[in-house]
Symmetry: C2
Subunit: 224 residues, 2 copies
């Protein structure tokens, strides 16, 4: 055990990179990727609880038993997919944040969202679907990640001058509204017929209006 660990460390040090990269390791990683990608692709059409190990290995082009060289069970594969999908979401929010003082924050944010949803359809579909799924373990994992995501957004909101004196709780409440609107926009894009740009345009327009309503309603809502 210790030997294995030391060897791994040595490899990293010698190569200067984390990419282990012996032919055998490379092949193993390729198969692992094939399993994950196959699963994600199948999950565009069905939900995780009805996705079978055999379906995944069949699509990946390996024998069912090979699966166990990579994951203990299907749930472990599911958790890996959640991890990777939220990495994409964080990359998205980072990308939105890095736009310094754009002319129109809201329009630009929606554009970025649309871009990411289009580029990572399967991941968004998966998260949106399993968020309410019957698989307790996955649902819990997604719930935790979404709460984290919401907190990050709340922190961003706190930077806006006219939100500076809000309580954390209220900022979270607002972040919650925004996340809900963004999630349902993503769903709208995913469900829009792919050959209808008008349907997509409408989803985008609605999203912008909703965000505007939430953001610009803020300075006045306490007066109600």
């Amino acid at each position: 055990m210790i030997c294995v660990t030391l060897h791994f460390v040595n490899t990293r040090t010698l190569d200067g990179m984390a990419t282990a990269a012996s032919p055998r390791q490379e092949q193993k990683q390729r198969t692992r990727r094939a399993l994950l990608d196959s699963a994600l692709e199948l999950l565009e059409q069905e939900s995780f609880s009805s996705l079978s190990l055999r379906e995944v290995t069949r699509k990946a082009g390996v024998v069912p038993t090979a699966f166990y060289r990579h994951f203990d069970n299907m749930n472990e594969l599911g958790l890996t997919l959640i991890d990777e999908s939220f990495r994409t979401l964080r990359e998205m929010i980072r990308s939105a944040r890095s736009e310094r003082a754009p002319e129109d924050v809201i329009r630009r944010s929606v554009e970025i969202l649309i871009h990411y949803v289009r580029e990572h359809r399967a991941q968004f579909r998966f998260i949106g679907r399993e968020r309410h799924s019957g698989v307790t373990e996955l649902r819990a994992a997604i719930g935790t990640e979404l709460r984290l995501f919401r907190s990050e957004l709340a922190t961003d909101l706190a930077r806006f001058p006219y939100l500076r004196d809000w309580t954390t709780e209220d900022l979270n409440m607002m972040a919650d509204l925004l996340v809900n609107a963004l999630v349902s926009t993503a769903e709208g894009i995913l469900d829009a017929p792919t050959d209808s740009p008008e349907a997509e345009e409408e989803v985008i327009a609605t999203a912008e209006k909703q965000l505007r309503l939430i953001v610009f309603g803020v300075p006045h809502w306490k007066s109600g």
Copy 2:
């Protein structure tokens, strides 16, 4: 075939009610109910796509083949559950509407929502879960019903004086925001630990704030 129909009409006329009510019919209805109730109960823990015909009949206390005396297949049972669940939702909105000029529309609406979610946990769970499920037919049915629901709400909104000159599209957009907030509130209630009134109280407080933000943000949002 014609005879059967005539006989049915006669029965209704004679009895004066639609409740057919021969002992055999009554027993059949009881079994049908048992199948629907068993399915709904099982659906609190798992999603529809992984719910089996045999599980349902086992719980209902009949042999698997008896199922076919009541439904062609599981999807048909699912569609029936959707129908019944939306009946509950409409009853809820009707109940909210019938409150004439309550002191605080928003607080009262949230109270009514909470009440209905508590009384019909399984139905709300089912709709919330299958809304994004992998079963295309059910998802489509729920989508249609929700769109209808949103339109009804938009019509209600049009009655408020300061929304009178809004376009239908904008009213729908706002109804969409409200429905999203209500749905996520219902989810919050369902997921709150049953032994923690504080957790529930927080969900309720957040819901009220969100609705207030949406409603009172309205008169000012166009200025943004």
